[in-house]
Subunit: 405 residues, 4 copies
Amino acid sequence: MGIDLESVYRDLHTHPELGFAETRTAQVAAGHLRDLGLTVTTGIGGTGVVGVLENGEGPVVALRADMDGLPVEERTGLGYASTVRAVGPDGTDVPVMHACGHDVHVTCLLGAVEDLVTRRGTWSGTLVAVVQPAEELVAGAQAMVDDGLVERFPKPDVVLGQHVAPLPAGIVGLRPGPTMAGSDSVTVTFHGRGGHGSRPQTTVDPLLTACHAVVRLQSIVSRESEPGEIVVVSVGAIHAGSADNVVPAEATLSINVRTVSDKSRTRVLTAVRRIVEAEAAAAGMTTPPTVVESKHAPATINDEAATARVRATFVETFGEQAVIDPGTVTGSEDVGAIATAAGAPLVFWFFGGADPAAFAAAAAAGTLDSDIPSNHSPFFAPVVQPTLDVGVAALSAAAREWFGR
Amino acid sequence: MGIDLESVYRDLHTHPELGFAETRTAQVAAGHLRDLGLTVTTGIGGTGVVGVLENGEGPVVALRADMDGLPVEERTGLGYASTVRAVGPDGTDVPVMHACGHDVHVTCLLGAVEDLVTRRGTWSGTLVAVVQPAEELVAGAQAMVDDGLVERFPKPDVVLGQHVAPLPAGIVGLRPGPTMAGSDSVTVTFHGRGGHGSRPQTTVDPLLTACHAVVRLQSIVSRESEPGEIVVVSVGAIHAGSADNVVPAEATLSINVRTVSDKSRTRVLTAVRRIVEAEAAAAGMTTPPTVVESKHAPATINDEAATARVRATFVETFGEQAVIDPGTVTGSEDVGAIATAAGAPLVFWFFGGADPAAFAAAAAAGTLDSDIPSNHSPFFAPVVQPTLDVGVAALSAAAREWFGR
Amino acid sequence: MGIDLESVYRDLHTHPELGFAETRTAQVAAGHLRDLGLTVTTGIGGTGVVGVLENGEGPVVALRADMDGLPVEERTGLGYASTVRAVGPDGTDVPVMHACGHDVHVTCLLGAVEDLVTRRGTWSGTLVAVVQPAEELVAGAQAMVDDGLVERFPKPDVVLGQHVAPLPAGIVGLRPGPTMAGSDSVTVTFHGRGGHGSRPQTTVDPLLTACHAVVRLQSIVSRESEPGEIVVVSVGAIHAGSADNVVPAEATLSINVRTVSDKSRTRVLTAVRRIVEAEAAAAGMTTPPTVVESKHAPATINDEAATARVRATFVETFGEQAVIDPGTVTGSEDVGAIATAAGAPLVFWFFGGADPAAFAAAAAAGTLDSDIPSNHSPFFAPVVQPTLDVGVAALSAAAREWFGR
Amino acid sequence: MGIDLESVYRDLHTHPELGFAETRTAQVAAGHLRDLGLTVTTGIGGTGVVGVLENGEGPVVALRADMDGLPVEERTGLGYASTVRAVGPDGTDVPVMHACGHDVHVTCLLGAVEDLVTRRGTWSGTLVAVVQPAEELVAGAQAMVDDGLVERFPKPDVVLGQHVAPLPAGIVGLRPGPTMAGSDSVTVTFHGRGGHGSRPQTTVDPLLTACHAVVRLQSIVSRESEPGEIVVVSVGAIHAGSADNVVPAEATLSINVRTVSDKSRTRVLTAVRRIVEAEAAAAGMTTPPTVVESKHAPATINDEAATARVRATFVETFGEQAVIDPGTVTGSEDVGAIATAAGAPLVFWFFGGADPAAFAAAAAAGTLDSDIPSNHSPFFAPVVQPTLDVGVAALSAAAREWFGR
């Protein structure tokens, strides 16, 4: 009896789907949730699934799992590895892999719901299971919100979510406050005046200007941010020109900004704009650079009080030594959009997926970075157990902290 | 009787051909040279043509014209404008235009040969007419040399050539010593370590390094070159990365260097290498950057004594006011390869193709740069006369300076 | 009966002395310690004072206060403000002020010793009171160690110390691990080749090289450090040249580095050296830059277990809300030298000296930075109470955590 | 009979005087001029001397020599070396040396006047001998002009002057058009916000900004100037800060600009201002930098026609091989101010002072820069002859070109 979670996990792993194309995954999740007695609605925010279980008076607790895969070619060598290919966002054929562990998340959500259903006599309240699309596109949570997630369904009093991480399986990590950084993409195009490379004086060189801007942007982190503050300004791409002997007319930068507060975010984005505009002015450009901000993921901020409650229950469940503060991670998440829409506290945590023995050996050898594949790696392969068991137990325990035990 | 030069010119202009594909142009030139009594060989260095006229004792004088067009879409609106398209070097379909006036050069060479043939009783020596392919590719002169230009045919005692320029028609410009700059292409690839944009500390950022290098390269001209020395270091292209949130593993610069002496060239290329290697070291890269030097066109250096002779005959032919010193031009040419191979002095000059009245008006208005189309412009359109007459007279007069008059 | 701490404090404040010149302060402290029954030795490490009280079996607890003032002209307007002037390190006459609150520290140490003496029947162990000179010179702790602090006197089992800070009076702040950053001074001199400013090509420009180095150094923080890691690389001074038209032969940078771990410190200092050497190479300098490291203050690292004990006793003493985590402060301290010499755990904490009402108003107005004077400001003026009471209670309570209560 | 020029020269060399303090030198010159029969006025523009000889109908020819020494400590080891010290502009005691050869200039002027007086029967016109102070301060010519040089004395129809140079003695060098560059001094002060080096986020770092500006200024020469155009932008001094751990509030640059035309000068000074203002904006400074332009010496531009006449007479006097084109020199002069004030053509030339054999040996060894001391070197020591003879002959011959022979 009960769901064979390991089989579910391997099946999902073998059949990854890209963001907003998770039809099969949604169907699998919706089927199990229905079997468990929840009222299930599909197609929320594209491919999202919502399952509701009303179990008497009490708080509304949302448990959220994301379900999309990544355009990565799996190289784990696992028996259940993915060989899936799909049409990518730009129309080309791409490989697909669950390289970020969202298959683990969906499986653990099903396990936790099953556990809560099994114990339903011991708690009361309303459970909302949220299976979200397109987290990797920083778009699925907002899509579900825009599609009525907190109006058409019971509005959560707390939003709980989790992410498998390259920590030893058995470990859970959480912290109050900033948990994951917010991310912004900024594209800057400098408009110079092109010309022959042998006559620079007739040009306004956008390539040199872009280089000065890249160099100048470093000071946002090195001089304008508080030491110890999490701020990243990475220029991931620069493109200008096509021949050595022609000064191009334009140069483009693709900038990624990571911050952990609105204040910091505003300050950094303002500084980026200030610097690129000033560098264009230094070059004598008459047209200011075009600055386009896109793809904003807010920082994932855990509620202080709610996190203290979850932490306490984790300590009780797993033991003091198993509960760590992972620090603020500079990666980004979109789960916060759901909590923001609900006006509810968020608690989001990490749980280990790495083989503990391998982790310990790598840590001892100082080779963690190379030996333990991180999320998004083609080699990312959580050990099945105790990863699933811990993920299920964590989600269930956290929910019961609100539902009463 | 005689060649109708204006018709020849318009016909060549209407039928431009890309470098090493000048089969029709070569045929036209070869036909006229044969008609004039020269011994003509085709297919030298690909599509090159050599015509020889032995006219008694005396020096061997090579008159060189280049004949290739450019992948530019003509926008002159002339009745005889080109609408030709051809397969470009990268296999794509490209427009073709005589945007650099090589059609003028071929026409004037035919006119000058005709003039010399007409006067053959007044001079003695050996005339070698060289119709060269692929000057724009900085490859045709060397190709003809490699195919035996100075061994299979009489070895020149002097090499004479000319280029139509955005000066008023009627003007000729020449100078002893450096006439056109040499050009070198240098491609630099920095080898960093890529990673996620949110974790710069795990990367060695090649994009930032490339930007520092571009900025640092400026000092070759600003600090390491003598004020007034012609040195250009242009970075025409920079490419790195494809996404804002990923630090790429490599970054590539395409650099163009212009110099007017071997000493200067060696110094600048050494400095480029020194700087990019040091910037890689500053970044902590363990692999030095890959530096590839390609496409070298030597500086075009006019022989002092031979140029003085040509200058004197030009002053006699056109008047003192019509002969100017155009300064050293930072554009490049490959005619020097022929003189170098022959061990003979080179004299290369410019002659005006711009409408004198339009030139004067633009000069008065300070709008020369915008109103008088330069070589390589889609609007480049020399006035037919007196451009052709001057080009013919200049080439013939210069040759007779050696042949005796 | 008892020491009139407020009078002691005002007296010390009125009579500040520079580092290693604290003869009067040492005398005052030694007098009170003797009066309290301690065995007092003066002149340890210059002007340092050590008082020992053996009170039965038990641990040796060192309580450390620093006692030097700063060359700052007091502008507090207080009735007991300093008007002292002294001969500074460079031989000039300078104003002196207790602008960093070391007068508070000495006073609180006397109060805590008095408290412990009063309660001597309730605890057992050995109390070592350390009154340290020249903390501002990052030299006094090491001077006392070098003078036998941990050999000539009972070797501490724990070292406790505290610092008054611009927090509301009544608040204490402490954290396990990195509490204050380590500080290193690095002086870099580039050796170029000078010459006339009109002939840069004859020079190797050290000024431009120094500027490139300053710019390049930014990437140590922006790219090579983990986001959220406390690393500061500040270039505080640059000097080169004396006339606009002469390229100087040398340029000098004064660099300050702040880090919170040995690993980080080594990494950053190595990167500074790597970058300045590479920039010299980029400039074509044949002599590498001279790099001199000086004035090293290690990071102040609180022992995890010992800090947990102190924190617990503070919570008990002052209440949960009064005990905060101040984060790691980028300022530096030399108290760690004593703990390192003793091989004992260190616990160092902050306690508030700001008027709570003024603090709250400034916080509400967002004007904390301008309204609440920080340490080293000429306006720095802790409120006398409850600052002294809290400082005394904190030091005493922390000591009793080891002595037993 | 006649002036013993070598003695005069050695005497002047032994007794150098700083700009505007040339009282002894002026007295010597005035004495000889009076002895030669000229009407002499002293104290023009401070210490300047004007001698006039009216010799019938004809043009007014001004012969100008400058007479000030430099604050350089002589190290020539000559028997007549200077050991003079004087009070420098900043009030300190400085050594003084004729390190720029102005003693040669005064001597040659006296010799040329004597020669012209001797030949007075062979020419007619008005000779104006101008002995100018403070050329090194770029101030003396203008001071004489401001004091009525071209109103109180016959207004010149041509201004002639010369400078001894590190060319072989016996050589004269001149060229039409730009002969020496103009020079401008620009001081830039960036106004940031200082603070503790451990808290860069509270500062606006003027030191980093100044470094970015220095780096950015390079592009004026490398990208905004025509290849081959004489433009120099040298930052000769940068100063900011006094301690490694304090971010200073200000940073200052001393910039020297060399150009050879008004158009170029305006363009470059505008670009300097544009760049430093933009860099301040990039840093987020609310106050723009203070930009002070001072010490302007205009370019020394030789009149084309007048120079052709002088060149012809030099070829006649010294032979074709002795007359060279030295190119445009990037050093600066203020003689142009006199010609500008008079509205008269200027001809200014160089004549060699180096020992020809030593010069030839150094040229052969490629050690000219190190072996032949340049002007302003403490080793600058022209050979007395034929330097003086050539300087006298050149000045006299040039004057007679106008006076008739």
